[in-house]
Subunit: 740 residues, 2 copies
Amino acid sequence: MADAPAHEPPKPPPTLPEADVAALREAGLAWSQAPGRPRPGADVAPDLDVTETRGRPGGHYVRVVRPQTQGFETVAPGWLEATPRATQPTTDMGRFRRRLRTVILGQPLSSSRVLHERLNKVRALPVLSSDALSSVAYATEQIVLVLAVAGATAVSTDLLPIMGVIAALIIIVCLSYRQTIKAYPQGGGSYIVAKDNLGPVAGLVAGSALMTDYILTVAVSVASGYDQIQSVFPAAANYRVLACIAVIVLIAVANLRGLRQAGNIFAAPTYLFIFAIILTVVVNLFRLITGSIHPTGTSINIPITESFTDLGGMLLVLLFLKAFSSGCSALTGIEAISDGILAFKVPEWRNARTTLTIMGTLCVIMFCGITIGTEVLGVSIRNSADPCYQSVILQQAAHAFTSPLQCVKGHAVFAGATGLGEGLFIFVGVATTAVLLLAANTSFSDFPRLFFFLARDEYAPHQFRRLGDRLAYSNGIIMLALFSCLLIFIFQGDVSRLIPLYAIGVFLAFTLSQAGMVVRWLKRREKGWHHGLPLNAVGMTMTFIVFLVTAISKLPESLIIVIIVPSAVSLFLAIHRHYVDAKGQQTTEVPTEPGKIHPVCIVPVDQLNNVAFQSMAMARSLSEQVIAVHVCFDPDHMALLRARWDAWGNHVPLVIVESPFRSVLRPLLHYIDAIDKQITDGTLVVVLPELVATRWWHQLLHNQFPLRVKAALLFRPGTVVVSVPYHLQHHRHKEADEAL
Amino acid sequence: MADAPAHEPPKPPPTLPEADVAALREAGLAWSQAPGRPRPGADVAPDLDVTETRGRPGGHYVRVVRPQTQGFETVAPGWLEATPRATQPTTDMGRFRRRLRTVILGQPLSSSRVLHERLNKVRALPVLSSDALSSVAYATEQIVLVLAVAGATAVSTDLLPIMGVIAALIIIVCLSYRQTIKAYPQGGGSYIVAKDNLGPVAGLVAGSALMTDYILTVAVSVASGYDQIQSVFPAAANYRVLACIAVIVLIAVANLRGLRQAGNIFAAPTYLFIFAIILTVVVNLFRLITGSIHPTGTSINIPITESFTDLGGMLLVLLFLKAFSSGCSALTGIEAISDGILAFKVPEWRNARTTLTIMGTLCVIMFCGITIGTEVLGVSIRNSADPCYQSVILQQAAHAFTSPLQCVKGHAVFAGATGLGEGLFIFVGVATTAVLLLAANTSFSDFPRLFFFLARDEYAPHQFRRLGDRLAYSNGIIMLALFSCLLIFIFQGDVSRLIPLYAIGVFLAFTLSQAGMVVRWLKRREKGWHHGLPLNAVGMTMTFIVFLVTAISKLPESLIIVIIVPSAVSLFLAIHRHYVDAKGQQTTEVPTEPGKIHPVCIVPVDQLNNVAFQSMAMARSLSEQVIAVHVCFDPDHMALLRARWDAWGNHVPLVIVESPFRSVLRPLLHYIDAIDKQITDGTLVVVLPELVATRWWHQLLHNQFPLRVKAALLFRPGTVVVSVPYHLQHHRHKEADEAL
């Protein structure tokens, strides 16, 4: 839309459809027959740059006005370009707001500066996989937490089967998406693939599901990032909610400023995180083999609701499924690469596939490494509100580089760390936090892009299509920030309380996307379908099963998502219906040809003063048929007005409506209705005075009546409203007012 | 203003000043010379009731329209009266709001139903003195509380001197006000007396001081009423703030409904209260003499900050002064009678004086009776948050009719009450609560009346002059309710925390009112000045001293009042300056004669569709000089629009403004500025399309651009804005939408 750079050589004018041209010609014919009116006053030059004539006693002089000095440059006749000067605010308030905006968001950028940078694999990997890889930071911890709630003994022995299934899932989903990337080399987000192959409703379901997950990604990543910080600085526990919201606001502002993901700075955290996790796993392995560390066993320091032995068989199964579902948060973010294929260098789809494979492999290695480490070395399980809380990742790092967490009298004690060891421990924490923030940041590109697509297809309000000052889709960014802050606030920034909502949407989107691919293979039978169809079918089946498992095992929290998705879909559909309806159904009650407009003017008046004269003069210049109406409940005022009207000469008929119930607006509206009923082929025009106050509080001191009339007439079809301004001048007491 | 009943025989038309008539005649001359325009379309009858012609093929037919059926009745030519039907809302939302309003406030009342009931002394006394008499319910308690905070021993021995001074003050103030009543038989509130004799600033100071005290009267009376309820039902302690706010809202709604104070029901509580207090005092006296009760001594059950022996001499004096200041709350409300003289039957001033004397006497008797009872019998002093709390009044009643309060394990135990005794005890509680609520209700007449006077003199916004649906000054009532609820909320409905703010305003108003009288006597030397002057001078001096004592001894809380009063006065003065300035300084930038208006129209267009045709047709019917302007950042759209414009035939010049920074509003405003600079004697008219959506959320889905342009042009002097409506029709999916 606005992607084309400005100043490129103008394209040849578009060819219009024959029917359009005929309709427009016919409309033009009616206009050319409309009676012309004499041109009063001096000529006005629409192009600004011709001449300006000024009246002088005894003649005129002509001055050439250079449009540049007015903030415009002439491109061609009838075509001006607004320079930055033309976007300057003119009021003090406007200037202040602009300055504030510039400080926060930076100078507005020209449309010609939209970037289309392409990434090689080395830079694409960190940018597009931060979400998927960062999930490792909380996935294992969430599995352990669910198991721990049910009793201590079982924790360490049951991690491995769950880990195995999740690792297998990652591989299957990656293999499936390799097919999608090839089929949609222009970018195959779940919304697009589902909409293309399964129809718009399926697309919207996938879109809504992804929408919920983008919001949760921000909330979970920021909260988990804070877990890492708190693991290193236990005192941070008290500022969780406020700090998380502040971080989200900062990320949002950075994105509103038009933060580009492509910068090298975005590559660093992901690589450092990969390095940190692999180093931790390898060092632990080495120290275990050499016998320099020993498993500490798992200790549980949270209230336990039920023990394993008390659980029935069915409940036990459900518990394992819930632990598995929580671990499935490791899969979030895998779809990012298929969404962003166009960011790769040519050949895009091949580079994207390779990157996806690398990412999947890394994801499996890191997740398994951390989980096995947890299984073998044992962890101390605490609530994140506990001052002794340490995240599972940093407990692993503590094993590797310092010594396991000691909790003395409810406060964390770090003991036995050498300088290098402590440094490495902090490094793991910082890298993990950084990659989590990067993951949150990724949602701030994905969510507005999803809403851009939805708005382009008219499922979301058009406002989401608009590029902001800094070429970012501001409305999407603001909406994402608001919703994720709300989640942080409701769930107090606690990852374990956010997780039950998470990943459900992703698996729904995965399922629909794979289903779309299956349908596509079956329909098109393109080259390679024998190979691709089974892969996508397996992927679809597996992700659908996981979706069901997740939705059921996470009850009742998962109900929230189950309610939000259909609500969002119906909202999107309602919006779409409205836009479709609106197209071409804009009904005009005022004639569209100048010759057919016969205005009948009603002028509500309060007193016979200059304000009334001005409004009536405007009305009379529009039409011979002008009625002044005064609604009143004070007999003295009525008599005075009538007397003054007579003295003036009754140039406009005055109707006084006496309102014994002191309501002014409704009798006026009923009077307007009564007059409107009498009009057969005229247009009803209401002329209202509009006060222009120099100070906002002066406005409050005056009658808000014209404003209320205007608001009421806004919804009256076929009523033209003319606002004639008057203003109050303050000279005498200006200084005194300022001093107040 | 609106007090005159409707339908009275019309007065002779007012005679206008010669200069006015000349000016209006001159204006009329210019209008009669303005070029007429042909009358298009059918005639319209401004009076509604003449005839209606409708076009038919082959002729017209004429139908007589009866205005009654349209909600209007003809009074005279050019004079209609709106029937209740003309005040009916026409939209669903409007009807819903009207229904809600009717349920809460009742049916609107006609202006002709303003009541001017006069009261005899027997009914005037309870109505006008409830505020003053009800102060007895808390004045003694507040003295005791202040003394108790400083140590137990001193309490009982030091009540009598304070009581004596306050009783003397009541007598002096009453004597002073007897003079005021005679001098101002039309009603002499402090604002009026001070303004008349000392100038407007003194009047405003008195007005602001009274304003603070009216608000505090509501808060203190309602909170003290709750103290009484809690004394009978200790469990009520938990709902204090909510219950107090609910009561204020109820009183406010009752007053918005146009509650008339004159009803007999208002007489009952005051007389019952007088009877209850005197009965309590007499029974206690009798039982003391017969020896059937014995003093229990004063016990203090609140944390004590310092004991008398630790206090230095100066501090001790300050403490006594503070106790005295708190007791001075007994004087609030004495000014009510001089405010409401016109409510009395003729001879008003004489009846009012007699009533004032009776009230003063009752006030002194009741206050002294309760205070002596407290001194002799002893009280148990507790915080009102304590479940064993009992108000001093009800402790007296308990002595008289049951047995003194017992507090077992922190809960009140009422023991030894016979059926009749308990009944009488509850009767005292109910009567006290009722009179306190009546006192709060009195402020709901006084405060809006004060603001009516302030608004009439243009010191307060005109909105306070407006009579609501039920003939009450709604805005004053709502403002009082808001402020008093705020006070209850801030001070948690605790009388002892509200008292430090109280009475300061009253004594300031007393002082200014008496000072006004002194000046008046000295200026006029009317009959009786030898007698009146000394009385008012003593009153002025005494109340001024008490004002100083109150303000100093209640530091730091009294600072709040000391800050509020001057702030309010400057605000009133600023408002006055604005209104004075505004008068006759309404500057019109549009000519006031129709012949001089030469409009130049600018029509912002988005696409060349019917909406644009309609706006341009309206513009063309106004002026030959029409410029269509399109601000855009999409080159494709620009080219398409240009092509369509050419196909149409360029009947209106189109200027395309390209905006590389995607800002649309500012370049448009700058373009309008540039055109405006070229206009020498024309009027700039901007014609904007206005979307009329059938559902409010549809409005949100569409471009808010015209709205933003309109808001920006609102503050552009001399720019006429024409809103041409179009709307969206929804037929197809109506049912589906409803189901959403």
